[in-house]
């Protein structure tokens, strides 16, 4: 806290933090000095001059947005002279301005015009000249439109793009009165603008506006605003949805609250359209004679209950399984897993986490005792070293990336470990580009460097690592063979670069690691993360504020689904299913006999499909998942799902999976949901319903309780979501102190043991969550990949995500705006490979692995290494997972999406 000082503004005595912005201080104290170019998220610009004041001891008028509050300052904010000057300025500004107002936006300038009576032409001194100035309009962007005649040249958009989003897309063309904003060198469309819309949100006049619904919106007429959480990635951005006539027409970032402080990415701002898409499921459907027919809820639910009961009676509880969902709320997931545990009677419940970060979580649980990210998203802003391992953060967690870029601007260094180029490379100090599947060797090399250069934290090792220096010695011996030369031979990374990266990391004060799918989705996924944690532990770069290890989560509730127990291994709050005491405790909360709760681990996502293939699982309840795109080795999955006796899919759309369902249930979409989710930094966040579900679609939790009830097995009666939460926080100790009321304003990070606890920004400050509170080193060797390129399959294929699409794209691809940015599958191939094999940009190709094939088009790009390929996994017409393996990581059961040997052939 900075010191408080005293000043007076218009004879009003005011206390303010020393050095605070004078205009802001006035504003905070109810003194509304007119202003247009100032915005508290941005550095002051001093362009509009409306905020002029007089300060005792300073000459003339000074812009209050450009000075700091100081002790004893005596400020005049309003007198005749100042008001005359402001009127003059507004008058000037109006003369170059197109005043047409269509109610599409809040117009701060128009408000001032009215405040100063300048809507009356008689009060004006200057003739309107904007028509002579030939201001252009740029509507080339897929998502926004810029009209220079409504632009007051306040710089807010430029600074929004630079300072807040770190993208530097905008600037002025020309100078003086004819100047106007341009994207890139000329047209927005050709610029690097990625459609985040920060500029729109901060534009005071509506000179930049969203294209969607622009014609319908009238801000003065019946707009309802509802705050909720973004349905896409795991940043958990807080949105304000604008609803007009029962339809969502706009989405803004909520200013001033974590985690996003008003920032959004293109998906958060423009990706809401799917929620009101005509393809939404609106009635239950039952498959009869191979065709889906509309059915009543009673019919559908009774059928489901009957079938599930039959299977259970005939084949036992473990013949049933459920896929829960990272796209639904904590309340939904909690009840779903409760359904599986009580009504199905097993622990066969899992969801897509097994496909993304299971290896990370497994390694973190074993070494640190907690699988969640140790830090807060804001910490990137103040970090001096950020290490990204297999993490395309700019595209997959775009808003977290804005904090990373701010950190970089403040002097933080960025190290990237990734075989494939990502947009972050532009900001990186060091890019280590190891060959696919060689990460452990690279990390062991870094660890050896750290040990040899004595950059370890001996004190930390002794106090906080299990076995202290003895364990360390084992690691040191194991890594000794990873000399820079040896590492270079395996990974292709120059030894010196690897050493430099190790030094920067080890010497940093507050280094953060963000690890992604590139690291986890490998056969050696758990080993990769073990080596990463080894490096953290020996340098003591975890367990202090601002430093640690974080796996940013892919979907808005991946974290929450695990937290609340949608897992074959753990109960709510990460308590193992095998923990008898806990099962006893939870049985009491649930009001069921303890003996009825299965104490054996259940099957995980991919195992469920394998068991289905083997005929062991017969009935499957899928809530909001699309395994027919996201599971590895799809041909195998297809066989498996076909063998199932009975499949229920509960979703908001038809998906690649619904054709294999026996019953399809229509569920509520994100904008219709009430409840909570948990983001990547363990922050519990509220969802609020903005619109009603279409047709007969129902809330997931309501459907789940109905299924249970009709299976004659109550999993509880709830009037609303808050009642579910109240029970959940009793079952999961990490949530004890969190209630809906506390979440109204801002989210709270778990663990939160009581209602006065502020939540936990950093994990492991005093101890790790392992049984003895100590971190555990797991020295691991590099192992060669079993899957290798060979004469038949000469390329190694990598897969991943892009900014504009999301997961299996059932949501994202139902947004015209997002599709305009990217709507075509492709495979990236290095220039030299393309030349050697005579492929050209745009060539149609067939890609084949041992497991299957697909067709797509070539993009020639040096963003991949020679011999390697990359494909986005979002597009069902080119399903990458036809090619991937389901050979699993032995520890975490994760599948190696990141590495498949393939061949590429031209198709005519």
């Amino acid at each position: 806290m900075s010191k408080l000082i005293n000043l007076t503004i218009d004879n009003q005595k005011i206390q303010a933090p020393e050095g605070a912005n004078l205009l802001q201080v006035a504003k905070d104290n109810g003194i509304e000095i007119p202003h247009l170019c100032y915005h508290k998220k941005l550095t002051p610009t001093g362009a509009c001059r409306l905020c002029v004041v007089k300060v005792e001891g300073m000459r003339g008028m000074v812009a209050s947005c450009a000075i700091k509050a100081e002790e004893g300052m005596d400020v005049t904010a309003f007198d005749d002279e100042l008001e005359e000057a402001r009127k003059y300025l507004l008058d000037y500004l109006l003369s170059e301005h197109n005043e047409q107002y269509d109610g599409n936006y809040y117009d701060e300038f128009r408000d001032l015009k009215l405040r100063y009576g300048l809507d009356n032409p008689e009060n004006r001194k200057f003739p309107s000249i904007w028509k002579e100035l030939n201001y252009p309009v740029d509507d080339t962007s897929p998502v926004l439109r810029y009209d220079a005649s409504k632009c007051i040249k306040c710089f807010r958009c430029i600074k929004a793009c630079d300072e807040v989003q770190g993208k530097n897309v905008l600037s002025f063309a020309q100078r003086g009165i004819t100047s106007y904003i341009i994207g890139g060198y000329d047209h927005w469309k050709e610029s690097e603008c990625d459609g985040c819309g920060e500029c729109i949100q901060l534009c005071p006049t509506g000179a930049i506006v969203e294209k969607p619904h622009a014609k319908q919106i009238n801000v003065e007429n019946g707009i309802e605003k509802v705050r909720t959480t973004c349905p896409y990635c795991g940043v958990g951005c807080q949105l304000e949805l604008w609803v007009q006539n029962g339809k969502i027409v706009r989405s803004n970032g909520v200013e001033d609250v974590s985690p996003n402080y008003g920032r959004l990415c293109v998906k958060g701002r423009f990706g809401y359209e799917y929620n009101q898409h005509k393809d939404r499921l609106t009635t239950p459907l039952i498959k009869k004679n191979g065709k889906f027919e509309e059915a009543s809820w009673d019919e559908a639910l009774d059928l489901i209950a009957r079938k599930f009961k039959e299977i259970k009676e005939k084949h036992g509880p473990t013949a049933l399984a459920g896929y829960s969902s990272a796209k639904t709320t904590n309340e939904d997931n909690y009840l779903f897993s409760k359904l599986v545990r009580i009504a199905f009677g097993s622990n066969n419940v899992d969801y897509c986490t097994r496909l993304c970060h299971a290896s990370t979580v497994t390694a973190m649980l074993r070494s640190l005792g907690d699988g969640a990210g140790s830090n807060s998203i804001e910490d990137y802003e103040n970090s001096d070293c950020m290490l990204f391992t297999g993490n395309n953060i700019i595209e997959t967690h775009p808003v977290t990336a804005t904090f990373v870029k701010t950190g970089k601007r403040k002097g933080g260094r960025i190290i990237i470990m990734d075989p494939k180029w990502t947009p972050l490379v532009k900001y990186a100090d060091i890019w280590l580009q190891p060959k696919l599947g060689t990460d452990v060797a690279l990390l062991n090399g870094m660890i050896r460097t750290i040990i040899h250069e004595n950059l370890i934290d001996k004190d930390f090792i002794e106090k906080r690592v299990d076995g202290g220096m003895k364990s360390f010695k084992a690691l040191s011996e194991l890594t000794e063979q990873y000399t820079p030369d040896y590492v270079e031979k395996i990974t292709g990374v120059p030894g010196e670069l690897m050493q430099e990266a190790a030094r920067i990391y080890a010497k940093a004060q507050k280094p953060l690691i963000a690890t992604g799918m590139g690291f986890s989705q490998q056969v050696t996924g758990t080993h990769n993360v073990f080596s990463l944690i080894n490096m953290c532990l020996i340098t003591g770069q975890i367990g202090k504020e601002g430093a640690g290890l974080n796996p940013p989560r892919g979907q808005n509730n991946v974290q929450g689904a695990s937290d609340v127990g949608a897992s074959p291994f753990t109960y709510p709050g990460y308590i193992p299913v095998t923990d008898d005491e806990n099962r006893q405790r939870v049985a009491k909360i649930w009001g069921v006999p303890y003996e009825s709760l299965d104490g054996e681990k259940g099957l995980s996502t991919v195992e469920i499909m394998q068991a289905a293939y083997d005929g062991k699982v017969k009935g499957l309840y899928i809530m909001g998942e699309n395994p027919m795109v996201t599971d590895p080795n799809l041909n195998h999955t297809l066989e498996a799902i076909k063998k199932l006796e009975f499949v229920v899919v509960q979703d908001i759309f038809h998906t690649e999976t619904t054709p294999y369902a026996d019953v399809i249930l229509p569920a509520a979409g994100f904008a219709e949901k009430n409840g909570t989710v948990v983001n990547s930094d363990r922050r519990v966040l509220r969802m609020h319903p903005a619109v009603n579900p279409p047709g007969q679609a129902r809330q997931d939790w309501e459907i789940i309780t109905e299924v249970a009830r009709r299976m004659d097995s109550s999993i509880g009666e709830y009037n609303d979501e808050s009642e579910i939460w109240e029970e959940l926080r009793k079952a999961a100790p990490i949530f004890t102190g969190i209630n809906y009321k506390r979440l109204e304003e801002h989210g709270i990070q778990w663990p939160c043991p009581d209602e006065n606890h502020p939540g936990t920004a950093t994990l492991f400050l005093d101890k790790f969550n392992t049984p003895n509170g100590l971190g555990v080193l797991h020295p691991v060797h590099y192992a060669e990949q079993s899957e290798k390129a060979n004469a038949d399959f000469p390329f190694l294929l990598n897969s991943g995500r892009i900014l504009y699409q999301y997961h299996s794209s059932t949501m994202s691809r139902r947004n015209d705006s997002l599709n305009e940015f990217a709507n075509q599958a492709y495979v990236l191939m290095h220039e030299e490979d393309a030349r050697k094999h005579q492929f050209m940009e745009g060539d149609k190709v067939k890609i084949t692995s041992k497991r299957g094939e697909l067709q797509t088009v070539i993009k020639v790009s040096n963003h991949v290494l020679r011999g390697e390929l990359f494909m986005p996994f979002h597009y069902s017409e080119a399903p990458v997972n036809n090619l991937t393996r389901d050979e699993l990581d032995p520890y975490s059961r994760i599948a190696p999406f990141k590495l498949s040997a393939v061949r590429v052939e031209k198709v005519r």
């Binding site: 509009c48 001059r49 409306l50 000037y92 200057f126 040249k153 020309q174 100078r175 009165i177």
Partner: protein, 417 residues
């Protein structure tokens, strides 16, 4: 008869500007040698007590600026010197004369200034159209490196200093120091909010000394000959000499270095050979577009920073445009205002829109309005409003020609056309 007092222009025409030996032969780099034997703060004191003031137009004490820059941000790892060689004021070409004909003089001044504030890096921000100045300066820098006047451990003193030329892209505003710093950082030429001043946070956030070429050309002379020697020229508060660049209706237009404090009449009659064809003097515009009109009542005022300011005029860059009876005040005023409209960067409202609206009103004045006198009053009022609210000094400039034209020539402006 007043004569020129050439101290900064002493070598002009006498040495080969491309020969460092020529420069050394006439005593060049002795100021630097002497300065390097002194403590940096003593060098600053010398400048301060010599009374040297900035020749870029504002006339701020050079020693004071050095003092502020050397004292601010002690923990900053680097300090910079920026040479303002963007000479953009209409009618001004004094810096060009120095750069083309005696480039080592201001380069030496730059090195001494750098030493005084312990700057290790300098930029010469040179007007892009000044081809010859660029070539000569480039050559001078090369030779200075060869002789050890630049680079590491200059003349064995342990002091390191590197200098680099950056070219201006034809924007008048980039001659304004804070805008220049933006431009040096590779950004668009918009001014910064002041404070902080360059002395606190200049280029790349480091303390920076910005000086004009002519200012720096005086520095080696003071370093070499001492403050007493320097103070013998000029007046008590405006010490030294000033280069005037005279154009318009005089017999011998050109550049003249004279002691501070001579009168306009002396400049025109004694040095410029009087008015062309003996035409009567009507007016002069002192200081370029950002300058003031004067009429014959000012002919005998001493031209020092303070006296002219007191009398409502400016010395500015030293540009003097002399007008005779048939020259139109309106046209000159019009071109000044058009110039500002054209050069306004557009960042702040009053200057961006105000200059445009003023030009429109001025055209109205010509095309006929009923009440020309009130229109002129409005123009003065507008220019005042622009000056008091604009962000940078460019917006504070239109008032100079506008108000002075109205003061001396309202009758003509009303009558004409």
């Amino acid at each position: 008869m007043i004569k020129e007092t050439r101290i900064t222009l002493k070598n002009i025409g006498k040495i080969n500007p491309e020969s460092i030996d020529d420069y050394i032969a006439v005593g060049g780099y002795q100021g630097l040698k002497k300065a390097l034997t002194m403590e940096p703060f003593s060098v600053i004191d010398e400048m301060l007590e010599a009374g040297l003031r900035g020749r870029g137009g504002a006339g701020f004490s050079t020693g004071m600026k050095q003092k502020f820059t050397s004292k601010s941000c002690q923990e900053c790892p680097q300090r910079y010197v920026v040479v303002n060689a963007d000479e953009g004021e209409p009618g001004t070409f004094k810096d060009r004369v120095i750069m083309e004909q005696d480039p080592h003089l201001y380069l030496e001044g730059t090195i001494i200034a750098a030493y005084s504030i312990q700057a290790t890096k300098g930029y010469i921000y040179l007007r892009g159209e000044y081809h010859d100045s660029i070539l000569k300066t480039r050559k001078a820098i090369e030779s200075a490196y060869e002789r050890g006047f630049l680079g590491k451990n200059i003349l064995g003193s342990g002091f390191d200093f590197d200098v680099e030329i950056r070219l201006g892209a034809g924007s008048y505003l980039c001659g304004e120091e804070l805008t220049m710093l933006e431009s040096l950082e590779g950004k668009r030429g918009n001014p910064r909010i002041k404070p902080p001043f360059p002395a606190e946070k200049g280029v790349f956030g480091a303390p920076t000394l910005v000086n004009n070429v002519e200012t720096l050309a005086n520095v080696p002379l003071i370093a070499k000959n001492g403050k007493e020697w320097y103070r013998q020229f000029g007046t008590e508060r405006s010490a030294g000499t000033k280069i005037f660049t005279v154009s318009g209706q005089v017999n011998k237009p050109g550049h003249y270095e004279v002691e501070m404090g001579i009168t306009l009449r002396q400049l025109i009659n004694d040095l410029c050979g009087g008015m062309q064809d003996g035409k009567p003097f009507k007016a002069a515009l002192l200081g370029g577009a950002a300058g003031t009109f004067v009429d014959q009542s000012m002919l005998d005022e001493r031209m020092t920073y303070d006296n002219l300011t007191e009398k409502g005029a400016t010395l500015g860059s030293g540009a003097v445009i002399v007008m005779a009876e048939k020259d139109s005040i309106y046209e000159v005023l019009h071109s000044c205002l058009r110039f500002f409209k054209h050069e306004s960067c557009g960042k702040c409202v009053p200057c961006r829109v105000g200059t445009t609206q003023m030009v429109r009103d001025l055209i109205k004045l010509k095309n006929g309005v009923n009440d020309k006198k009130s229109l002129i009053e409005k123009l003065v009022k507008d220019s005042k409003m622009i000056a008091s609210t604009s962000l940078c000094p460019l917006g504070q400039s239109p008032i100079l020609p506008m108000e002075s034209a109205a003061r001396f020539f309202t009758d003509e402006l009303v009558k004409e056309h």
